[in-house]
């Protein structure tokens, strides 16, 4: 896969480049601000763009804005945003931009295979959401939540699903039969009042949105009659 990486932290960027090259990715360009990025993407048409959320010139969220702009202009290019913020809102904004996006905490680059795995998924049109972001959403304290209806195993499945794992990846990670995974997924969707989503990206978005708002499509009122 051909990758462009934009990060103003030179040492981290160089480390990531080495890591990706070790994993067999081709890093075709690297730069240290968001301004140039769009032009380079237009020029090189990479498979995946890795971008730090916070870069010059404003040191705010230009990485995120650039990622969304890339998705608008090149829906087929995967974009992985590296961030130091555990903010579900950023992840959701990114996912709303289309399939083939990822939101990872920057330190995740040091986790075995996490980065390469995310880059691959994003490049293949899948999604990747940092586990810490998902866990925080999942563990958010609520007065009342549909999540209480889930069994511990279903919660586990939901957590991985929200991170953007496919059913196959789930089965592998949890040592489950793919059929069992499918039935867990179906059960989760029923319990959360979600309509089944055949499309992978829309499934992730639906699950994350549900986690963010904490209520099902028909709201909590249904149980209260």
């Amino acid at each position: 896969m051909r990758v462009i990486i934009a990060d103003d932290a030179v040492l981290v960027r160089q480390g990531v480049v080495r890591l990706l090259e070790d994993e067999g990715f081709e890093v075709i360009d690297q730069l240290d601000d968001a301004g140039e990025l769009l032009a380079r993407v237009d020029q090189h048409c990479p498979d995946v763009v890795i971008v730090d959320i916070r870069m010059p010139p404003t040191q705010t969220v230009e990485g995120l804005e650039a990622a969304l702009e890339i998705k608008r202009r090149h829906p087929g290019v995967g974009v992985l945003v590296l961030s130091q913020h555990i903010e579900s809102r950023y992840a959701l904004r990114l996912l709303a931009g289309g399939a083939g996006v990822g939101y990872l905490l920057k330190e995740r680059v040091a986790d075995a295979n996490a980065l390469a795995d995310a880059v691959r998924r994003v490049g293949d049109g899948g999604s990747a959401v940092d586990p810490e972001v998902v866990v925080r959403m999942l563990e958010r304290k609520r007065r009342e939540t549909t999540l209480d209806r889930l069994s511990p195993r279903e919660r586990e499945v939901l957590c991985l699903m929200a991170q953007g794992r496919s059913n196959a990846a789930l089965a592998q990670e949890l040592f489950l039969n793919p059929k069992t995974v499918e039935s867990h997924v179906a059960s989760i969707f029923t319990k959360l009042d979600l309509l089944p989503e055949p499309d992978h990206h829309r499934r992730v978005l639906a699950v994350l949105t549900h986690l963010h708002t904490g209520v099902g499509r028909s709201g909590m009122g249904r149980d209260q009659g």
């Binding site: 932290a9 040492l11 981290v12 480390g15 990531v16 080495r18 890591l19 070790d22 916070r54 040191q59 705010t60 969220v61 130091q84 913020h85 555990i86 903010e87 579900s88 809102r89 950023y90 920057k106 330190e107 680059v109 040091a110 986790d111 075995a112 925080r136 959403m137 958010r140 304290k141 609520r142 007065r143």
Partner: protein, 578 residues
């Protein structure tokens, strides 16, 4: 000197009064014998009233002629009364002259009132005419109605026909003089300011009545049918008595005006007088034209109520200026009607009160300025602290965080390189180091977020409050009805208020649910954070809540904590947001 003179005159008046009483009892001339005792008593009383009023005016305004004219008029009247009771030609004639001179002195005093000066040629002509016709009258007076009186030594030796014609001429001239007199008084009245009119009204009115009665009497003597002459005499008597009474009355009223000063002081004490001081002073002084000039110490010049430079009028502009002082320092000046010089005590009291008011106003302005300064510096301190937090957060992000991530990457690669061949002890150490690094990075991230929440600056209050709710150890329901962005200091303050309240709800209140409401209402951000915990919270010194209170107050807002024991804690705050 003048005191001694006045004492001598007083003694003379007393002696005269005693002589008058003695002569009245004796009844040596028909003039005395024909006059009823009551009228004699009134005559004496009037003479003494003039002396008293004159003395008072003399002591009030030693530099003015009025006091001396009135005193002289009183004494001359007394001398006149005594003279016409003595059965001797010379003394009797002197009495006649004195009685006539009284009228001239009175006319002089009335025209010169209140300044004592004859300020126009017409005034001087009027007074000159008065003296002339009075003397002429004595040269012609026959006292034909006084049988048995001593002869008038000044009487012109003419035959009756010539005397009658001259007398008629004299009466006509007297009428002209009276006309001039009335015209002079009316001119003063019409040309005067409100304060001036108020000061002279009683005296001028009585003098006019007296002049009209004299004119009436003359007209009757000239054959015009205007009623019996005794009625005119009565009016003249009453008006003669009324003049000194009216004068004394104006003095009493001037004292009563002190009550207006009392009200002024009360008004000044009642609260902010800004803008109302002029009206209050105008009321107390009875001068609607009064102006207040404030003395600006820093620029050493006079300014008006709005701080614009103001030039005080010079004396020839027909305005008077009284400088106001407080504790020896100039605080301002009153520009007023010069006629108020008639009431120095009133002006003095009003100025004292106005001085107090201006000093009060100056002190208040100073306090307001200091307060504004302190508020601004408080806001600057909070802003500077926020900026410093932002810098620290950025340094953490650009420095420590990136280095630690780089370190984690290096460790990861080292572990990869070692692979399965590594010494288990080394591999264990490296794994431990990786885990420690992970924790360090997590702690650093929380620290940075607590210092300066990036999401607040980038996404606004609602997103930041939702993020707080997501991280909270207690269930939080957020309801935000502000759509647009607010000024950064307001957002930061609101964020920290909610953050602290949520931390307290989890740590101290043992709450299970917190509701957070934020709404923009009438240019203010209204915040409410209510939990269902144990309550009993308060803004204690050096507590987190006190810090928040300072932060909110620095923005001109307020923070209130209601936390009855066992009934939860409700924190409300309002912050102006433009």
């Amino acid at each position: 000197m003048s005191v001694r003179i006045r004492l001598c005159l007083l003694v003379a008046a007393m002696a005269g009064a005693a002589a008058f009483v003695a002569l009245s009892a004796e009844g040596s001339t028909p003039q005395a014998a024909d006059t009823p005792a009551a009228v004699q008593a009134v005559e004496l009383a009037i003479a003494l009233l003039y002396v008293a009023a004159g003395m008072l005016a003399w002591s009030r305004h030693p530099g003015r002629l009025i006091g001396r004219l009135l005193t002289a008029a009183g004494l001359v009247l007394l001398v006149g009364h005594i003279g016409v009771r003595v059965n001797d030609g010379a003394v009797f004639t002197a009495g006649m002259v004195a009685q006539a001179l009284f009228i001239a002195l009175l006319a002089h005093a009335a025209v010169a009132y209140p300044s004592g000066r004859l300020s126009s040629a017409f005034d001087r002509a009027t007074v000159g005419a008065a003296y002339t016709v009075i003397l002429g009258e004595n040269l012609l007076a026959t006292l034909s109605n006084c049988d048995g009186c001593p002869p008038n030594l000044l009487l012109l030796p003419l035959d009756d026909g010539a005397l009658d014609r001259l007398t008629d001429l004299q009466r006509g001239l007297t009428l002209v003089a009276i006309g001039m007199f009335m015209a002079a008084l009316l001119r003063h009245w019409l040309g005067g300011t409100a304060a001036a009119r108020r000061a002279v009204a009683p005296v001028v009115a009585t003098a006019l009545v007296m002049a009209m009665a004299n004119a009436g009497l003359l007209l009757v003597a000239l054959g015009v049918p205007l009623g019996p002459d005794w009625a005119w005499w009565l009016v003249i008597l009453a008006a003669t008595a009324a003049v000194p009474i009216a004068y004394l009355g104006t003095r009493v009223r001037s004292r009563l005006a002190g009550a207006g000063v009392g009200r002024l002081v009360v008004e000044i004490g009642a609260g902010p007088i800004h803008g109302q001081l002029r009206a209050s002073l105008a009321r107390a002084l009875g001068d609607p034209t009064v102006e207040v000039a404030l003395w600006a110490r820093d620029t050493q010049r006079y300014v008006d109520g709005d701080g614009r430079p103001m030039t005080l009028p010079a004396a020839e502009d027909g305005r008077a200026v009284t400088v106001l002082e407080q504790a020896g320092e100039r605080v301002g000046a009153l520009v007023h009607d010069p006629a108020l010089a008639e009431e120095p005590a009133l002006v003095e009291s009003v100025c004292a009160a106005a001085g107090l008011a201006l000093e009060n106003e100056r002190l208040q302005a100073e306090v307001r300025a200091r307060l504004a300064e302190v508020r601004a510096s408080r806001a600057r301190i909070v802003e500077a602290a926020d900026a410093a937090r932002g810098r620290v957060e950025r340094n953490l992000h650009d420095g420590a965080q990136q280095r630690l991530v780089t370190l984690a990457l290096a460790l990861r690669m080292a572990r990869d390189r070692l692979g399965g061949d590594a010494d288990p002890a080394v591999a264990g150490l490296l794994a431990q180091a990786s885990e420690e690094l992970r924790l360090a990075l997590a702690e650093l991230r929380e620290l940075a977020c607590g210092l300066h929440p990036a999401i607040l600056a980038e996404e606004g209050l609602e997103a930041a409050l939702d993020s707080l709710a997501e991280r909270s150890a207690v269930a939080v329901e957020v309801s935000v009805t502000t759509i647009e962005r607010l000024p950064p200091p307001v957002e930061v303050a609101a964020y920290f208020v909610v953050s602290e309240a949520l931390a307290n709800a989890a740590k101290h209140a043992h709450a299970s649910l917190v509701t957070v409401r934020a709404a923009r209402h009438n240019g203010r951000l209204c915040l409410e954070v209510a939990d269902d915990g144990v309550g009993g919270a308060s803004i204690r010194p050096r507590s987190g809540l006190e810090g928040l209170n300072d932060r909110v107050e620095a923005l001109g807002g307020w923070l209130h904590v209601a936390s009855p024991r066992g009934r939860g804690t409700s924190l409300t705050a309002e912050i102006p947001c433009g």
